[in-house]
Subunit: 212 residues, 4 copies
C-alpha cells in the first residue's frame, strides 16, 4: 500500500518536473542536457534527474530516488550535483522543490560580477522572492566559484545558508543558478524572478546604470 502510494507520488512529481523541463528548455535555460531538477518525496528522500538527460524530454525513468546525503536508493546514476539538491532538503523542512539551470543571463552575469555576491535593488520584482515585501530591500545573491568537487561546494553553500537563512537562490560562477521553494510553483516563481533580474542587470550594465 505505502509502496504503491509512494510510487504514485514519485510519478506525479516526475511529471511536474518534466513539464517544467519542457518550459525551461524552450526558454534556452537548460541547453545541451544541462541543469537538474528535484522534488522532495518525504522527510528522508527526494527524486532527482538522472545524469545527462535532455531536460525538455524527461520521462519517469529519467528520475531516481536519493536519500538526503545524495546517495541513490536504487539503480541508476544520479546527477553529479545531487548533493547540492539534497543539502537543501536537509537544511529546511519546508523546501519541496529545487531547480538548477544554466541560463545565458545567469551564466554571464556570474562571470561579469566581481566579488562573491550580486546585490539587486530597486526592482519591484524583488517582491516575487519569499519574504521580500518592498523594492527598497536589497537582495543579495551569493556567487560561489565553480568546481568539479561537489562536496566541497556543498560545504561552502551550507556555511553560507547557515549565516544567511533568508537566501532564496545562489549562482555558481560560469555555471548557473540554484533556487528553491515550498512547492514547484513557488520555485518557478523564484527562478523566473531571478532570471528576469539578471537579464535587467545585464541590459542595464551595458549602459552604466545610474545605481552603479
Amino acid at each position: 500500500m505505502s509502496m504503491h502510494d509512494s510510487d504514485t507520488g514519485f510519478s506525479a512529481k516526475a511529471q511536474t518536473l518534466a513539464a517544467i523541463g519542457r518550459e525551461l528548455h524552450a526558454r534556452g535555460w537548460v541547453p545541451a542536457t544541462s541543469g537538474n531538477f528535484s522534488m522532495r518525496l518525504n522527510g528522508e528522500s527526494a527524486l532527482v534527474t538522472a545524469s545527462g538527460k535532455h531536460k525538455g524530454r524527461l520521462a519517469d525513468t529519467d528520475f531516481l530516488a536519493v536519500d538526503l546525503r545524495g546517495q541513490p536508493l536504487g539503480a541508476g546514476k544520479p546527477s553529479a550535483e545531487t548533493l547540492l539538491h539534497t543539502q537543501l532538503y536537509a537544511w529546511r523542512d519546508w523546501i519541496d522543490t529545487v531547480l538548477h539551470c544554466h541560463s545565458p543571463n545567469a551564466t554571464v552575469l556570474s562571470r561579469l560580477t566581481v566579488g562573491d555576491s550580486l546585490i539587486l535593488s530597486d526592482y519591484e520584482l524583488q517582491k516575487a522572492l519569499r519574504g521580500i515585501d518592498t523594492h527598497a530591500t536589497p537582495v543579495r545573491i551569493p556567487i560561489f566559484e565553480n568546481t568539479q568537487h561537489i562536496p566541497e561546494l556543498a560545504q561552502q553553500v551550507d556555511a553560507y545558508l547557515r549565516a544567511n537563512p533568508d537566501c532564496s537562490g545562489y549562482l555558481i560562477r560560469g555555471h548557473g543558478i540554484y533556487c528553491w521553494g515550498a512547492n514547484a510553483e513557488e520555485c518557478m516563481r523564484h527562478l523566473e524572478a531571478l532570471d528576469f533580474l539578471f537579464q535587467c542587470e545585464l541590459l542595464a550594465q551595458r549602459h552604466g546604470d545610474r545605481q552603479r
Copy 2:
C-alpha cells in the same frame, strides 16, 4: 436577469484577459506572477486580477469585481495596485481596458532614463498610439518613482493626467508600464507599440543614437 447578464459579461472579460495573459507571459512581460490586468464592467465597476496569480494561467476565479475607488465588491483580495487601474476608469469614460506589465525593456529603460519622462521621436510606430498621426510628433512617457504607497502614486498619476490628457501610458521606475485603451485590442496595440519603442531605445542607446 441583470445579475445573469452581468455574470456573463464578467466571464467573457475574464476570458479575454486570460488570453492576453497567456500571450504576455509567453513574451516574458509578466514574469513570476507580476503584472495585473483589468476591464471595465460598467460605469461603476471593473474586474481586476486577484493578487499573486500566474498571469499565463488565469481562470475566472482569479478575477474579482471592484468599484472605481479600488474597493472589492465581494470576497477575495484585489491586487495591491488596483487603485492604479480604477483611477483610469474614473478619469475617462471611454477607457475599457488597462494592462500593467513588467517587461525587461520597460523595467530597464525606466531605470536608465534620467529625469521624470522619456521622449520618443521619429519612430513610425508612434502612430500606433491614439491620437498620433505622424512620426514627427514627439511622444512623452512620464516616469514615476516607485513606491509601495499606492494611493500616493495614484495621486501623482492623477495630477499628471489632468495636465496631460493625451497621455496613453506611463512607466514606474524599476517596476513596469501601465497603458490603456478603448477596448482590449487597442490596449494591446498600445502595449505592443510602447514596448517596441522601449526596445528600440535600449538598442539605440547602446550605440549612441544620433538623435541623442
Copy 3:
C-alpha cells in the same frame, strides 16, 4: 468563370499572406498593427492589407484589390503605404509579393546608420538575396528618410530603383523595411536574410566590428 477564378486567386493569396502574418507577428516584426503585405493578382492589380489590421490575425476581408497606382478597385480603405507596394509591381513584371515590416533590427539600424545606405559585406547569407552568389559581393541597402507624404517617397524609391535595378529591399529611417520577390517564398527568404544581416550588424557594431 473568370470572376470565380479571380476570386479563388484572391482568397488563396490572402491566405498565403495571412500565414506569413502569423509567423511575422510571432517574431515581433509587425507589432501593433504595423506593416503591410501584398501579392500581385494580375498585370493590372494586386491585393493589399487594409489599413490598421492586426497582422497576426488576417482574414480574407482584411485585404482589398487595388490597381497599380494604388487606387482601390472596390470598397474599403487600403493601407496608406499602398503605393509603395504597387510601384514595385509596376516596375518589374516578375515581382509577385511585397512585404513591409517594422522589426526592431530594421528600425534601429536604419536610425543608427549615418548616410543614405547600409553596406553589407563578407556575410555568407548575402547569397540568399537574388543575384548574389558570393559573400565577397557587397550588398547596398538604401535608406530613405521617413515621411508621411507617400507619393514623394514613392518617387524617391522609383528613382533609386531605376538607377539600381539589382536592389532587393530598402529601409525607411525609423520606420522599417520593404522587400520583394518572384513569389511569397522568395520574398520571405529575402526578408529573413535581410533581418538576419541587420541583427548581425547591430550585434557587431556593439563591439566595433573589425570591418568598420
Copy 4:
C-alpha cells in the same frame, strides 16, 4: 530486401533531420534556406539536404544520397557544401550526424574574433562537449576564412582535424558553424552547447569580461 531496408533507413534519417530542421528554424539558426544537415547511411554514403531548401519544412524528397567524396548517388543537386559533411564521415567512423547552421551568435562571433581560433574557458557547459569533463579544460574552436571554393576549405579543415583530433566543431568567418556527433542527439547537444557558449561570449564581451 537490402534495397528496401536502406530505403527505410533513408526515410527515417530524413525525418530525424526534418524534425531537427523545424527546431533550428524556429530558433532562427537556419534563416533564409541557409544551413545544411546530413546523416551517415553506411560506410560509403550519407544523406544530405539538397540545395536551397527551407530548413523548417524538409520532406524526404529534399534529401539525396551522396558518396563520401560528396558526389550524388542519384538525381538531384546536393548542397554546395556537401564535401564539408562527407569529409567528416570519411575522417572518423563513429561520426553519424553533421549539422551546419548560420546562427546570429556563430556568425557575429566568428567575425569579431581576431585570429584563427576562439578559446572557451571556465564555462561549466564545456562539459557538454565529447571528451571534456571539467570547466577548467579550455576548448579551442578553429575559425576558417570564408570562401566559395569548398574543396580548398575542405583541405584546410582536414589538415586541422588531423592535427587536432579532439575537435568537435568549427566556425567559418561570417558564415556559421559545423559540428558533429556519434548520433543526432549528441550532435544537437554539441550544437546547443556551442551556440550557448558563443552567446555567452558575445554578452560578456560587451562588458569586457574579466577573463579577457
